[in-house]
């Protein structure tokens, strides 16, 4: 009945440590729809790895409910839970392959657990090796494979049980940029062609941009902002989201703090607004200059998105006119608050 394949309701997780109770997750509500590629982004220690582990109950929530495909997982017996877990695969930063088994053996592993006959499992493993483009390494052991190849084997293993969901826990964090791109492309293909829901844990915005349609920003065990990736990229509401989406923009703002912190705006533009030289026209029409502080072009889910930080005229009246002009042209912009700049200034760069 529910379209939500995964639903966390009021999930709280506390750990007892020597130093006392640590709250890793605070009252998390999260709904993930079938077919989503849902990113969960946060800095290390934000609680994202714990969060993803509550989905398949590798971490049992202290409070709250976890539903998978409308079925309550919290409270199932170990046996029942294991049956449900076969519908949710997982891939890891460190790949977690069996070192003593070759590629085919690793891919067969979840099938053996599920009781699939050996010959059938081996045949499926070979097919899946084709899907991940690694046919020629069927009998290689993990120690003979590169990081990217290991993750491909892990992805094939994740696909073996025909799961409805794949949880990706920092799946590309141990890989170089080029390999990361190819793994992300593979995951994207799996999401699009097989309709498998992805839950993507990462600390890298690039991963979200290339792979996800939805995103939740987690900070100190709480989801502080969530929504459509495109939408959040245009107008991130919280400081945490802005920091993750525009890390470079913030750095660029910093050295100029002393000269002027007034009337800065961040513009986001796409194909619809990129055709016209809006800023140039604005300068000419209003006769007041703007200062360019930062500009960048990103590819977001296959579409080009640009962002720019500019400093409008110092006097309020002209600045208001400029803002009016931008609004009239349909350019999305957000004003950058002073405290946001100061905050970043404190952190500084080494």
């Amino acid at each position: 009945m529910s379209e939500h394949i995964i639903s966390l309701q009021g999930v709280t997780k506390e750990f007892d440590t020597k130093g006392g109770k640590v709250v890793a997750l605070k009252d998390i509500d999260l709904n993930i729809e079938k077919g989503d590629s849902y990113g969960i982004i946060g800095l290390s220690g934000a609680g994202k790895s714990t969060l993803v582990r509550t989905i398949n109950l590798l971490e049992e929530p202290t409070e709250g409910k976890v539903l998978f495909d409308g079925k309550l997982l919290t409270g199932l017996s170990a046996k029942e839970l294991n049956l449900e877990r076969r519908r949710i695969s997982m891939i890891f930063q460190q790949f977690n392959l069996l070192m003593q088994r070759d590629a085919v053996g690793n891919i067969c592993f979840p099938l053996e657990i599920a009781g699939v006959p050996k010959a059938e499992a081996a045949e499926k493993a070979r097919e899946l090796l084709k899907v991940v483009d690694l046919e020629e390494r069927a009998n290689s052991y993990p120690s003979q494979l590169s990081g990217g190849q290991k993750q491909r084997v892990a992805i094939a293993r994740a696909l073996a049980s025909d799961p409805e969901v794949i949880l990706c826990d920092e799946a590309t964090s141990a890989l170089d940029p080029k390999t990361t791109r190819s793994i992300l492309a593979l995951l994207r293909k799996i999401n699009e062609e097989r309709g498998i829901t992805l839950v993507v844990i990462t600390h890298e915005m690039e991963v979200i941009k290339q792979l996800c349609n939805k995103v939740a920003v987690i900070e100190n065990g709480e989801i502080v902002e969530r929504g459509d990736v495109q939408e959040m990229f245009r107008k991130p509401k919280t400081k945490a989201a802005r920091k993750l989406f525009f890390p470079d923009g913030q750095v660029t703002e910093k050295p100029l703090v002393r000269t002027s912190t007034k009337n800065r705006v961040r513009l986001v533009y796409d194909e619809s607004t990129a055709g016209e030289p809006i800023i140039a026209n604005m300068i000419m029409e209003l006769g007041a200059p703007v200062n360019f502080l930062y500009a960048n072009l990103d590819v977001l889910g296959g579409a080009q998105k640009g962002q720019m930080v500019i400093c409008l005229a110092e006097d309020a009246a002209t600045a208001a006119k400029q803002k009016e002009y931008l609004r009239a042209k349909g350019v999305d912009f957000t004003e950058i608050e002073e405290d946001e700049i100061d905050h970043h200034g404190e952190e500084g760069d080494a």
Partner: protein, 220 residues
């Protein structure tokens, strides 16, 4: 003692020692392997934590391990005599070896299994593997090379125990060394016995290392 008698004596002693060692090791593993696995599984970070069992079993293992072998053997001999009818000879010694060695084997197994990457175990749990499946298909398989190396160490230690048991009428090479070498002042017999023991240890260690290497897919 003429050469022929000596050779016959040493031959018999070697066979007895090998029987005591191998049977002792085998039975010690029949007990120690499951116990070692259970200590890992029920440990604080195990896949099925059971603190009470874990602490109790850990305590029993420690108590037996803290006793020097000879003292333990003297302590248990009366009970062994009751059960199997004799307190001397190969079978009594083998029984004593097992009593002393299974906790050692359990700890060796525990150490080997600790080396298995916790991430791989987590991956298996995420796939919906049950406890026994994780034990058989992940823990024992992934730790195989280390378990084999451990088995070589265990066998050699038990060989040493069996030689010590010889001094208490246990038969085998230790018995020869003490009877001829010590009581009858025949140091040459003593040294030959030691030489045989050294060769046996070398062979066992070599077999262990070779086998562990051949069965380790991380290397080749």
């Amino acid at each position: 003692m003429d050469a022929q008698t000596l050779i016959r004596l040493l031959g018999e002693g070697t066979v007895q020692t090998l029987i005591m060692t191998l049977v002792g090791t085998l039975v010690s593993y029949l007990i120690g392997l499951p116990v070692g696995v259970s200590l890992i599984v029920t440990g604080p970070n195990g896949i099925k934590p059971a603190p009470l069992y874990n602490r109790t079993m850990g305590f029993i293992v420690n108590v037996i391990r803290s006793m020097p072998f000879l003292i333990l053997m003297i302590a248990v001999m009366p009970y062994i005599r009751k059960v199997i009818g004799t307190g001397i000879g190969t079978s009594a010694t083998t029984a004593a070896l097992i009593v002393a060695a299974w906790p050692f084997v359990a700890r060796l197994v525990e150490q080997s299994l600790l080396e298995v990457d916790s991430g791989v175990i987590e991956a298996a749990q995420a796939m919906g593997a049950g406890t026994m499946q994780i034990v058989r298909k992940v823990l024992l398989l992934e730790a195989r090379p280390s378990l084999i190396n451990g088995a070589a160490v265990a066998t050699i230690t038990i060989l040493g125990y069996s030689a010590m048991a010889g001094t208490l009428g246990g038969g085998g090479l230790g018995d020869i060394a003490i009877r001829f070498g010590h009581y009858r002042f025949q140091p040459d017999v003593m040294w030959i016995t030691i030489l045989v023991l050294v060769v046996l240890v070398q062979i066992m260690q070599e077999i262990g290392v070779k086998l562990a290497g051949r069965l380790d897919n991380r290397l080749n």
